[in-house]
Amino acid sequence: MERYSLKNFFIYVALSVGCLIALLPLLWMILVACKQQGQALKLEILPEPIAITAPYQTIAGKSNQVTLQYYSASAQTVQVRISFNPTQLFEMNNDHGSFWINFYDVAAGEYDYEFIADGNAVINPDTNSSKAKILVKEALSSNTKLKNASYIQGNTLVLRFLGSGQLPIKALLADGQEINLTEKDSAGYFTAQVTDLKTGEFSYRFSYARSFWDGISEIYTYQNFVEILFNRDFPFLKFFANSLIVATLAGLLTVILCTMGGYVFAKKNFVGKKVLWSIFLGTMLVPGLIFMLPQFAIVTKIGWINSYWGMVVPHVANIFGLYLLRQYIETIPDSLFEAAKIDGASEWQLFTKVVVPLSIPIMLTLFLLVFVGQWSNFLWQYITNTPDSAYRTLPVGLSLFKGQYDIRWEQMMAGACFSIIPITILFVIAQRFFVQGMTSGAVKE
């Protein structure tokens, strides 16, 4: 008994490890969906205690650099109007959800500026005004929350880094020098100076200590989910609803047709039954892609482009489903049908009162298979919809995140996280029937 228990223990361990390995892609999907933009391909799951920033480029000899930054998760475009002589309007660059802009060679003096988000001036609730002032040659103060607010004056680089308070903070210069930033200025920046810079391009990075939770927030975000759900250029809910309708309709119609057809082929006799059945089975040997062209031609001719019908009907003729149902219904004893007939059941009643109730497991199995197939179908749904179609489905929508060179893994995976929900729910509800359906006929008793 003990030997068996030990054996079982190892089997369970092996199966658990196998399950975990099988779940790795799912885990990867969720992790990527939660990563900050551009971090998807980084092999960083837990944060390192010491982090290194991206390199910052600056040009020695150019003085009076002004950096303005505006935080917004929702704005699509942000501009800044600044009272250079004359007043000018500049587009701000978006970087990780914050907008920023650099100005070089700004003459000393005081300037007014205001941010314009999506065309509207942004009012500062503290001052009740959209205008703010910036004094050039002063240490950049709290209106910028940049981690790096360093600037150059002549040939001196004033390093300024906004740390969380944890030390050490070091500047790593391109020539290999490491400088400790220990002093804190009035704006809360850790600061140090590099003098006698050679004129020309110069790059530096910061290394800084961070807490575990700071590190987590630098790697992960929930913004990808927000962006997927509330992006005006990406009607996720519409895509989702369309997928749900197409998959449900295809599943229901396929199950109805296949159950009826399966009943006829299993229990009825008619001229040419065997020949017709052989022809049907023969079509299973032809790859599905071969049918795509004639199906597309027919759908176009009928005018079903940009419609649910165009996506659903061609897949309803499912020979595999017919085969599955026929084999299952064949196992129902003829005596049941005879008894029902003696009781006065009509043909319709035979179907609804005998065939359907006894075939529920296999019908649900077929429904699940068709639902999953149509839920993830890309090519057919792509070609039967024009790009402006209101009936585009989720796989087509999510593929918009994949360009020729550039794949937005973070948003794509956030969408994929939502897309697995219906299938998961369906499987959880119907798994008992699914297993029953798939194993039916395996054991003869």
């Binding site: 551009g38 391909l41 980084k42 092999l43 920033t53 991206a54 390199p55 040009i59 699509q76 475009t77 587009e91 978006n94 391109a174 290999g176 391009e201 790059s203 990075r205 250029d233 309708i245 449900t248 309709l249 229901l252 062209l293 597309f296 031609a297 176009t300 005018g303 482009i305 940009n306 419609s307 649910y308 019908w309 359907v356 109730p357 529920i360 649900l364 890309f378 090519l379 792509y382 070609i383 024009t386 790009p387 402006d388 209101a390 009936y391 087509v396 593929s399 918009l400 994949k402 360009g403 020729q404 060179y405 550039d406 937005r408 509800i429 119907a430 029937f433």
Partner: protein, 456 residues
């Protein structure tokens, strides 16, 4: 009780009925919507299928808006550009199906390797045959990056057997690959590089030097490799081109023949395979399941990779440099990627379509495009007018493009790459087939199944 789902529907007939009604409403609603859509079409409209990312799309929308305003001022009538974003994945099959059903857009943004296939399929319009085409192909070509416009100029055989040159599109976006090198990894091996007589502050300039750098930067204990590469035909072009491969040429009878079995191509592929098999400096990043070059570079595993300007932003968290592709016997060179705008035969207003294509690729619009998105302009006149002081890395790509070679003009390039050359390169790289044999077999297939379409 056993089949509780069924009993639920039996007992709750109301819900079953409601479900059927909802589905029917959806279906009928669907039909109604379609009729509204089709009746709302504008007569003076161009439908454009585009594969831009959201940032590009925003800028493109503004440009299209400005064009509409200019067009109505110039012609005294309005023109509506119906912009439709479409996934890049599966676009070629999508277009082929659309061609069969005569349901193509007026204008589409396609990969620069596709115009030839669509031109031979007679799906797109030769723009030079339009009455509003008021220049010559050669004159027009002067305005654009040579390798970018070249993919749009296609020779077709006329009925009398002579070759005719036609223009089938206008470049929309152009790029090429250059050498990305991780400055941090170079600094870490600075002592070793210096003692080998190499400068750790710059990238290698020729392939011979490249091997020396890569050997020092390959530290297998740290799972660090000097180089990581893809091995598809497009990604192998920088090797082929720097070794002077011609790919396709006309023979004495005026027929197109493939030259992949000639000496320069063999040398190039031999060098590629040597990087992996002989020198061991390439990580095998092209193998299925391995860390791909971009991911390896991003994570400090590969010191050098070939990549394009689309990755400049993605790599912004690492300290890297961009340099020209190391020179081979034919000097430095690269491949050419990017997109073209083509006009389909179903277009009812090709003159307006051509006008838009010319507007979008004009000098001023290309300067605006480049400065908004940090991309390489397709208009050569815009090259000198872009401020590159803030974007020195983009300047390297623009320099590289001057020596880049256009994608070979072979029909069904997508099929060729996937079914013929791709597998051949893979076999050679794995050492399962000799370089000579792999290229000979490919050449034979290309002549038989692909170039024969041109020579008909």
């Amino acid at each position: 009780m056993k089949y509780n789902i069924l009993s639920f529907f039996y007992k709750k007939k109301f819900y079953s009925l409601a479900l059927v009604i909802v589905l029917l409403v959806i279906i009928f609603n669907n039909t109604a919507c379609r009729s509204v859509l089709s009746s709302g079409e504008q007569p003076n409209e161009l439908t454009i299928w585009i594969t831009y990312n959201p940032q590009e799309y925003d800028v493109f929308k503004q440009i299209a808006q400005d064009f509409q305003t200019e067009y109505s001022k110039k012609h005294g009538k309005s023109l509506h550009l119906n912009l439709q974003r479409i996934p890049y994945d599966g676009l070629m099959p999508r277009l082929k199906y659309a061609c069969l059903a005569n349901a193509t857009p007026d204008i589409c943004r396609i990969d620069n390797a596709w115009p030839l296939t669509l031109a031979y399929g007679k799906s797109i319009i030769p723009l030079d045959t339009l009455p509003s085409f008021n220049t010559t192909i050669d004159e027009l070509a002067q305005e654009y990056v040579p390798a970018a416009i070249a993919s749009n100029i296609v020779e077709t055989k006329a009925d009398n057997g002579t070759w005719e040159k036609h223009l089938y599109g206008i470049p929309d976006q152009t790029n090429c690959v250059a050498l990305f090198w991780n400055k941090e990894l170079f600094r870490q091996s600075a002592t070793e590089l210096r003692s080998a007589g190499l400068d750790p502050d710059r990238a290698p300039r020729d392939w011979e030097e490249f091997v020396k750098y890569a050997q020092i930067l390959t530290i297998k204990d740290k799972k660090q490799y000097g180089f990581g590469m893809f091995n598809s035909l497009w990604w192998s072009m920088p090797f082929f081109n720097t070794f002077g491969t011609e790919f396709v040429k006309k023979d004495a009878n005026g027929k197109y023949i493939c030259t992949l079995d000639e000496q320069p191509a063999q040398q190039a592929l031999q060098f590629m395979t040597d990087l992996y098999l002989k020198y061991g400096v390439e990580a095998g990043a092209w193998r299925t399941g391995s860390i791909n070059p971009e991911q390896g570079f991003l994570n400090g595993k590969y010191a050098m990779i070939l990549s394009g300007p689309w990755n400049l932003k993605r790599f912004s968290n690492i300290d890297f440099g961009v340099s020209l592709v190391p020179a081979g016997p034919a000097g430095t060179s690269s491949n050419v990627g990017g997109q073209n705008l083509v006009v389909f035969r179903t277009c009812k207003n090709p003159a307006a379509a051509l006008e838009f294509l010319r507007y979008f690729s004009s000098e001023s619009v290309q300067i605006r495009w480049s400065e908004s998105l940090g991309q390489i302009p397709v208009n050569i006149k815009a090259f000198d007018k872009i401020d590159l002081s803030e974007r020195p890395q983009l300047a390297v790509f623009m320099e590289q493009l001057k020596t880049a070679k256009a994608t070979p003009k072979i029909p069904r390039m997508d099929v060729l790459e996937e079914k013929v050359v791709g597998p051949a390169l893979q076999l050679a790289m794995q050492g399962d087939k000799s370089v000579e044999q792999a290229l000979k077999d490919s050449t034979k297939e290309i002549n038989k199944d692909f170039l024969s379409l041109l020579n008909k």
